[in-house]
Symmetry: C2
Subunit: 189 residues, 2 copies
């Protein structure tokens, strides 16, 4: 018996991300995925029962392996340096994995999404909300509604990363520090 090939699986995922980046989930077809991944169409169905399963599985993998896995080591830091480090890592991740960002956004608004996939969404938000609340208790962050604060961070990060990718601007220390300084001025007491 022949085992499944981990490299083929990754090739399928990479092809899917790359194609979605080019013309969105709308433009995604099974034959394009197979061609880009350099495998036969039939082989796709060895790895996934259907297109729907494929995209849901990819989404699950991105969510569990993505930004969430990069913050565990920070929780002991004081609020401001912790926030800076999260800011930096998130920006970096988003700039370096733009196709993944596009895929996740489009997937969330597609008819493919399963109930289970929908559940995976809010975890990073929850972490940030917690951190902001801690800052509020220490009186270093404004006493505004947490959603008002958090959406600034997440919305800005998303938009800035997209802009950097779009204009092919490299993510320098200067950009990180300047942008974080805006964030901090916005939310500090």
């Amino acid at each position: 018996m022949k085992p499944k090939d981990e490299k083929k699986l990754q090739a399928i995922f990479n092809a899917t991300l790359s194609l979605t980046g080019q013309e969105g989930i709308v433009g995604l077809t099974m034959s394009k995925i197979a061609k880009t991944a350099k495998i036969g169409i039939g082989t796709l169905y060895v790895y996934f029962e259907s297109k729907e399963e494929l995209v849901n599985e990819l989404y699950r993998q991105l969510k569990t392996g993505g930004t969430l896995s990069m913050i565990d080591d920070l929780k002991a830091l004081p609020v401001k340096p912790q926030l800076l480090e999260v800011w930096k890592r998130t920006l970096q991740y988003r700039v370096e994995n733009h196709a993944q960002m596009v895929f996740m956004e489009q997937f969330l608004n597609s008819p493919f999404i399963s109930e289970e996939s929908r559940g995976l969404s809010y975890q990073f938000t929850a972490y940030l909300t917690d951190l902001l609340e801690t800052g509020q208790q220490q009186m270093i962050i404004k006493q505004a509604d947490e959603a008002i604060l958090m959406n600034l961070l997440s919305g800005y990060s998303r938009q800035l990363a997209a802009h950097l990718v779009d204009t092919k601007t490299p993510l320098t220390e200067k950009v990180i520090n300047e942008s974080f300084s805006l964030c901090w001025d916005a939310i500090k007491s």
Copy 2:
């Protein structure tokens, strides 16, 4: 000769927006559009040559009739009040026209978009950049790169509006003022 029916045209656009809001551009089919708009499929092709033309035309209409048309009367105001008013109107517009926002984002990442449509994108951004530059010359806004400043405003506005819609939170004066106060603290000198 029978004239075209302006109401049907609007019904087609409304149906398209509503369906896109539910399951994205991926879920959009000509028969669903016709059914939702309560017209025959054939009639769709009286108004548009193809699906591609339909969505491009809708995009054009949204772009030209949208946020751009609401700022002409503000250009005489001083920077800070002008920015506040733009902030307010943009938030309001985005909350009240969420389906349009979703449609435009998805369209920009779809294979349907024509070269011409792509050109319509950057106008609002250009206006904001101008306004920020004026503020910098008056030394009331930080001397950071304009993209760093502008993406905070546009990204935050987008995210906050989406969040308000998502959680069905009404856009009160309090929300407007609190969020604008964060913006201003972020970008002021």
